[in-house]
């Protein structure tokens, strides 16, 4: 993984595999404190305590094709290698919340990368799931709420080329512009 946005995509794929109907993704940056935080929260099937304790071990996975699962360990490492924090909380049947905090200026912090592209992909490729994506920095806040957009569209799918083009610009102007090119 060379971009934090890809970690976000990967972790969110876990939420989708857990049968989540709603996923919220929050990106918060505080440039004066030199900190940023990524938080992903879902209402999927959750995990029991035993699984939760093992989940940051790369030799724990739910997939059946092989016994290695790198998603969560890579996400954890991306934060801790910058002197930041990582946490995961889950309750069986309720959902999972995972966060990572970074020191923005640390030399080992990966660039955020194409966050807008990841949000676009998640929103358009998973029609049965609602996403709330929030970006906050410098006292400005931008939100993308796909349930609101679906309501306006009234049955027109989000992956129609015209809608996708609209969303691409909407994400760029309402979410990406909040942090600009600084992450």
């Amino acid at each position: 993984m060379r971009e934090l946005a890809l970690n976000i995509l990967d972790i969110t794929e876990n939420s989708l595999a857990a049968g989540a109907k709603h996923v919220s993704i929050a990106l918060t940056a505080d440039f004066t404190a030199d900190r940023m935080r990524i938080e992903i929260c879902d209402d999927g099937c959750g995990m029991d305590e035993e699984t939760l304790a093992k989940v940051t071990d790369p030799f724990t996975t739910s997939r059946t094709t092989r016994s290695v699962g790198m998603g969560i360990p890579l996400f954890k490492y991306s934060a801790e290698s910058t002197g930041g924090n990582f946490g995961i909380f889950s309750e069986k049947g309720k959902g999972t919340r995972i966060f990572a905090e970074y020191v923005i200026g640390h030399i080992d912090r990966m660039p955020l990368g194409d966050f807008g592209g990841v949000v676009l992909q998640l929103a358009t490729m998973n029609p049965s799931v609602d996403f709330t994506v929030t970006v906050e920095a410098d006292g400005r806040k931008g939100v993308l709420d796909t349930s609101e957009i679906k309501e306006i569209l009234g049955g027109i799918p989000l992956d129609m080329p015209e809608v996708r083009a609209f969303l691409k610009d909407y994400i760029q102007e309402n979410l990406v512009s909040i942090y600009g090119g600084r992450l």
Partner: protein, 121 residues
């Protein structure tokens, strides 16, 4: 600034078009891109974006592009599976450039790009 008001205008414009598209039906091509940790780390996201952009550019309405989990061949990721004419074609070690070529030559013109297929890698 894009606003939700614009989205309402877009909806009105599209209402009339959607009806025709629903008819496309049987000769549909299905494309799946592996999007597990292995695929993502190998660069599956730009490949998926290239496929979507190319389909949009060419106005391909009988093509459905979606993502899937780990296909089980992590060292050959990014993997793109094309289901066309009752056959499955597995393209491996894909890049955005290769993806565009697959859309042009296979999906549009019906000639599989054999050099990218799994049998030749």
């Amino acid at each position: 600034m894009k606003s939700l008001e614009e989205l309402k205008a877009l909806r009105e414009k599209m209402r009339s078009q959607t009806d025709n598209r629903a008819v496309a039906g049987s000769d549909e091509t299905v494309i799946k891109v592996g999007m597990a940790t292995c695929g993502i780390a190998a660069g599956a996201r730009p490949v998926l974006t290239a496929l979507l952009d190319e389909a949009e550019k060419r106005q391909l309405h009988n093509v459905s592009i979606s993502q899937t989990g780990c296909i089980g061949l992590c060292r050959l990721e990014p993997i793109v599976e094309v289901f066309k004419g009752g056959q499955k074609y597995t393209y491996v070690l894909m890049t955005p450039e290769k993806a565009k070529k697959v859309i042009a030559e296979h999906v549009v013109n019906g000639n599989p790009v054999t050099e990218y297929l799994i049998g030749n890698n």
